[in-house]
């Protein structure tokens, strides 16, 4: 087999099959004015020269900084086994295979992933994953709209702005009435929610911990949401679920989130992982693939794609979603990561994160002029108030070797002096002390 596409012979063969003499003749119906004269490409370079040019570009990135940036995506340790197992050729594909039941190993891996997501979120059913945390949240909102037949959605403004923007963009041609309720002292405002919550509300969406790092128990609000016949949706940080109350325990109907923190490297543009779990009653509203366990004609355990009548290849325009690509490889990595840690490991991982962030709060609060916000409990991320614009501080800290945090003014008006700091298990006490020393020096 020839791996070079379009050899002269191929082209001749194709042309003669359709009865054209030349490529020119094939394109003759396109007016000359519309045809490209040239593609303005630079002269060809050798592989070595291209590698050098791209490396020079890559060198412009600041690398090797000690990372205290989170804001939805977190710098967690990834055990080598995750790479080793997920890169096995039997698994190395981005998709669930076509003719899926022929690939029992793959289906089992996804089934395990779904089971782990259910355990983590405390909910009944998980799909085989979605594109990323934002699309998962959008799909959850759409489930609520379909389920309730209503069109009003209340968003907590503590939801990552990226996600809120995605909800607005994806639904810009639908008639959805959005209400955003403000965050008061870092927490979801009960008072504001109850002002807007009514019998027309399809869904109320929270994030926990919220974008400022604040942890909340939404149980009381979820109860009120249900009294109005609406669904409660939570976007959650999976690593935090090692110690925090799960969405299931708080009564949420659907939980979604970004699965990057479960064994997927930080990378601009992904690939990342959207996870989604819901109560059984909503299974048929859930988008994308779901793997089920069954027995074959000999009574042996096997795996199948299930509830496929919700899907686009059967229901076409009535499918639950048409943007439900799953992220099989990333889901596999998450399944391996979570299995390697185990129940106890996940609890310990979450505790490490929590304790290191608490140590960082303690250490940073000693810097004159720095105020650590303590109005709410936090997990591994918290907000500090600086005596000057956070953008300047971030730039100066890069020179000191630190990516010191996310300037909240980028997403929230009037918060120019606020910095959001994430501390994962990878950060040492020594690094946290040096962060504090450098911060004190640049202020």
């Amino acid at each position: 087999m020839n791996y070079v596409a379009h050899t002269k012979e191929d082209i001749q063969q194709m042309l003669s099959a359709i009865g054209a003499k030349s490529i020119e003749e094939l394109f003759k119906d396109i007016p000359a004015s519309l045809r490209a004269k040239s593609f303005n490409l630079p002269p060809a370079k050798s592989e070595f020269a291209v590698t050098q040019a791209l490396s020079r570009l890559a060198d412009k990135n600041a690398t090797g900084l000690v990372n205290f940036v989170g804001a939805g995506f977190y710098d967690h340790f990834i055990p080598a086994a995750v790479d080793a197992l997920s890169s096995r050729s039997e698994f190395y594909t981005a998709y669930t295979p076509y003719q899926p039941e022929c690939s029992q190993g793959w289906l089992q891996a996804i089934y395990e992933y779904q089971s782990l997501i259910c355990e983590l979120t405390g909910l009944d059913v998980s799909n085989a994953s979605l594109y990323d945390g934002g699309t998962a949240l959008f799909e959850a909102m759409m489930m609520a709209l379909r389920h309730t037949g209503r069109n009003k959605v209340i968003l907590d403004s503590g939801i990552n702005l990226i996600y809120r923007t995605m909800l607005y963009t994806y639904s810009s041609n639908l008639s959805i009435e959005f209400v955003e309720i403000p965050v008061v002292h870092g927490q979801s405002s009960r008072e504001e929610l109850y002002k807007y919550l009514d019998e027309r509300t399809a869904a109320v969406i929270f994030q926990n911990p919220n974008f400022f790092g604040a942890v909340d128990d939404h149980s009381d609000m979820v109860e009120k949401v249900h009294q109005c016949g609406a669904l409660a949706i939570a976007s959650v940080y999976p690593v935090s679920l090692g110690i925090l109350k799960t969405p299931g325990e708080m009564g949420f109907d659907i939980a979604t989130g970004e699965g990057q923190s479960l064994g997927i490297p930080l990378s601009f543009g992904g690939p990342y992982l959207g996870f989604m779990a819901a109560r059984t009653a909503l299974a048929r509203q859930m988008p994308g693939r779901i793997v089920g366990a069954t027995v074959d004609s000999d009574g042996k355990r096997g795996f199948v794609l299930t509830l496929q009548t919700r899907e686009q290849h059967i229901r076409r325009e009535k499918a639950t979603s048409n943007i439900c690509s799953n992220e099989a490889l990333c889901a596999l990595r998450a399944a391996i990561f979570v299995s390697l840690l185990g129940r106890q490991g996940l609890i310990e991982l979450a505790e490490h994160n929590y304790q290191k962030a608490e140590f960082a709060k303690e250490t940073l609060s000693r810097i004159p002029g720095v105020q650590v916000k303590r109005s709410s409990p936090t997990f591994n991320e918290f907000t500090i108030l600086l005596p000057r614009h956070a953008n300047e501080v971030v730039h100066r800290m890069i020179e000191k070797g630190f990516a010191c945090g996310f300037p909240l003014g980028r997403f929230y008006k009037g918060m120019d002096n606020y910095l959001l700091i994430a501390v994962t298990e990878k950060r040492t006490k020594e690094e946290i002390r040096r962060l504090a020393d450098s911060l004190e020096a640049v202020l």
Partner: protein, 129 residues
């Protein structure tokens, strides 16, 4: 194929049993047989206003999910809640225990657009050819 004489039928294989101002609605024996084992049915809500021939329910079998259309216009007055747990009733007893919902129909004249049993029988035989 069972086609009871006391019902009215649509080309989409729904039936309606008229009792005064109330119509019981379901899908025909032919429909349940074509769909195969039914696993789930999504029913309208009581109080919902339906229009003749408009979408009112979804029936899901191992093979496909199919839309069900209202045989008459009117308001849904109650649904067969047994179907949530026992969708197989549609296969076992399509004209009795497997009915979908009841409605108070609003336009007497619409009945003229439906087929009686002999007409439906003939219609289905025509499909088979």
């Amino acid at each position: 194929m069972n086609v009871p004489g006391n019902l009215l039928y649509t080309k989409d294989h729904e039936w309606a049993r008229i009792e005064g101002k109330t119509a019981y609605v379901g899908i025909t024996d032919y429909a349940q047989h074509s769909l195969g084992d039914i696993t789930f049915v999504d029913l309208p809500k009581a109080g919902e206003e339906l229009k003749q021939s408009s979408f009112c329910a979804t029936v899901e079998s191992v093979k496909a999910a199919s839309d069900v259309y209202a045989p008459l216009s009117g308001k849904v007055t109650g649904v067969n809640s047994k179907l949530a747990q026992n969708p197989e009733l549609i296969n076992q007893s399509p004209y009795d225990q497997g009915y979908f919902f009841m409605m108070e129909f609003s336009n007497e004249a619409e009945k003229a657009k439906l087929m009686d049993a002999p007409a439906y029988q003939k219609y289905v035989e025509g499909l088979a050819e």
